[in-house]
């Protein structure tokens, strides 16, 4: 396999089972090209070149509000949604606006590694809460909140990837979401719902979002085109109360630079409004489901019974738990000798030692043969080490 544009740290010819990128085979390059041509044909291209509205491309806002209201029966108004440069910018902006150095935030254990990195960059005190097979354990969260309250402290927000979580692939069930909203009201913290995998679902409907269940109260929900269109466009959205959105829109960051990239926002808007995104999504779900199926079948065949792993109903990731006899760092070392790379569990925990028996595989990026072949190699290594 030759990677024209390899994710960071990928050695040419290697099998990067860690890469949480969309597969290059699944990028709708021709469709985006058609959108670009349509814009140029249609005239009015000046708006791609000037500073944009702080809230983002108006047509894209309108499209997303209409779609989310229709698909999820929400009651969003355009004041509730703004365009951002991918969910990354949203997480960073939320930290800037909602926190100061030393504030506490809550996350799952494990949680999305790069979000933890952003929280550390903001000098936040990150407390992680254990999960079980259904996601974060609410009683553990409550215990944490009581312990904090006893010190006169409260978290600023709880950060969660509610659907097909990164790194576990787990979707948090509705009753837990409702229970967490109750806690958020009692203890006064916001919920940051990083919902970038929402549209990569393979089966039934998802539970209602935190945003929907809380009637939008104190929930900031992030969405992204990175997983369902192309990361290179750097486009996503943030949904929150009109007051919160107005606060972000009125920040110096947006006043100075204008809204999220006007050039790629206009292209994204054109692509979506033409109907191409919806068609692409339908196809994409089948493609990722096939990859998930291949990965799970390969894991079933290759892994010894002592290895457990999640069976995600969407998203990009599978989370493995190794037997006590297999150390992840040793497995990573042996895998490297076979030109195979995965994401060790350590990076997804506040305390790296908590991830000593886990690893994350991604089925999103690799061609099917590499996905299957990579898991076969991994299974062989685990068997050798646990023998």
């Amino acid at each position: 396999m030759i990677l024209e544009n390899r994710p960071q740290g990928v050695v040419a010819g290697s099998i990067p089972l860690f890469a949480g990128h969309p597969s290059h085979e699944l990028l709708p390059i021709a469709g985006v090209q058609r959108a670009v041509e349509a814009i140029w044909r249609g005239g009015g291209v000046t708006r791609l070149f000037d500073y944009g509205d702080e809230q983002g491309n108006a047509q894209l806002i309108e499209f997303l509000v209409e779609r989310l209201n229709r698909v999820e029966s929400l009651g969003l108004r355009r004041e509730n949604l703004m365009i951002i440069g991918g969910s990354t910018c949203g997480v960073d902006m939320i930290c800037d606006q909602l926190t100061r150095a030393g504030d506490v935030v809550l996350v799952d254990a494990p949680s999305y590694r790069d979000a933890l990195h952003i929280f550390r960059d903001h000098h936040l005190e990150i407390r992680d809460i254990d999960i079980d097979e259904s996601g974060v354990m609410v009683e553990e969260m409550e215990r944490m909140l009581r312990a904090l309250a006893a010190q006169g402290r409260a978290p600023k927000f709880y950060y969660v990837v509610p659907n097909f979580q990164n790194p576990t692939g787990i979707t948090l069930p509705e009753p837990r979401r409702r229970a967490i909203i109750k806690l958020s009201r009692r203890y006064g913290f916001a919920i940051v719902e990083d919902d970038v995998y929402n549209d990569i679902r393979f089966g039934d409907d998802l539970p209602p979002s935190f945003y929907a269940l809380a009637d939008g109260e104190n929930v900031l929900r992030l969405g992204s085109f990175s997983k369902t269109l192309a990361p290179g466009l750097r486009m996503g959205w943030l949904i929150a109360s009109a007051g919160r959105v107005a606060g972000f829109v009125g920040s110096g960051l947006l006043t100075m630079g204008g809204g999220a990239n006007p050039f790629t926002a206009a292209i994204t808007a054109e692509y979506c409004r033409s109907g191409a995104w919806e068609t692409h999504l339908q196809w994409l779900r089948g493609q990722y489901q096939q990859r998930r199926d291949i990965a799970l079948a390969a894991l079933d065949a290759a892994m010894p019974a002592e290895v457990s792993f999640t069976r995600p109903a969407g998203g990009y990731f599978i989370w493995l738990r190794l037997p006590p006899s297999v150390r992840v760092d040793e497995l990573a070392e042996r895998a490297k000798q076979e030109n195979l790379y995965f994401a060790p569990g350590a990076g997804f925990f506040v305390n790296p030692a908590d991830g000593a028996r886990h690893l994350r595989l991604s089925f999103s990026f690799l061609p099917l043969t590499d996905l299957r072949g990579g898991i076969e190699i991994l299974g062989r290594l685990v068997r050798e080490m646990s023998a």
Copy 2:
């Protein structure tokens, strides 16, 4: 005049003398279109669609390093430069990395309004230092530094637009730059050099940059394509020590989202490497010089002798000082009735009252007739009010 894409707050049919946007007439739309077509013809477009390197588009880095080294006789290596989403992202990133809430930063009085906004968003304590007709007064800066030191404090950085400053159009002479570097070493603060107007110069060479004069030590220099290509692409660059650049590149913000917009970065790189940018710059300087000349001639003709104003040798802005009899807020109110808008001085100072007799005009955005006509109206109003 009909504005297809009006800067925020501009009423249709009005004359926005405040708008610090590049003129729509001067956007190289056809040239960018050619760059897009060349990329598509050339193949290898996948890189526009995937996450990009944290440091930014490698070709654009290479182009800028080579050009800056050639034009300014610098000794940049590629580790000294990273691509950012416009200088805005640079200012925000610098605040995130170099400061914490409550830290002191120094700025000029007046200084760029939107940068002040970002500093306030980061809860920084902003101290502004008076300028004279050559820019910031070094002895005032030293007095401020001594006063801070007496309280056991030191600023984290001094923020300056060194060339054709926003809002005054003033270029800081080399001796003052050298003196400030000495102060920065003695008192241990960084210099943030927001040099976005560098390439919009009408005459002689500019003084060497702070970055050049300090051999890159503790200077962070920002550049931008917003003024010389198109703001909508959201492209700029940051120059700093290799260690500082590595720190930014390794931040959670860039690890999570990848480098600055890969799509528009690739287009910008193609546009620059084709030679189109250099050609455009030559032409652009003449265009903006003509606008500056028209604005100054109109001011000379329209304003009473008691109004003084700067005569910038580049950039976008002219700074006016009104006679004591004319209050800026009253002038703004009367101008509004004539459908004319300018930027009152208050927003450019830490203490708004310091700007009560000043205003900023921009000659970058308006068509020539509106520029001349707008200044004629303004002159008439000032004469009426000072009569």
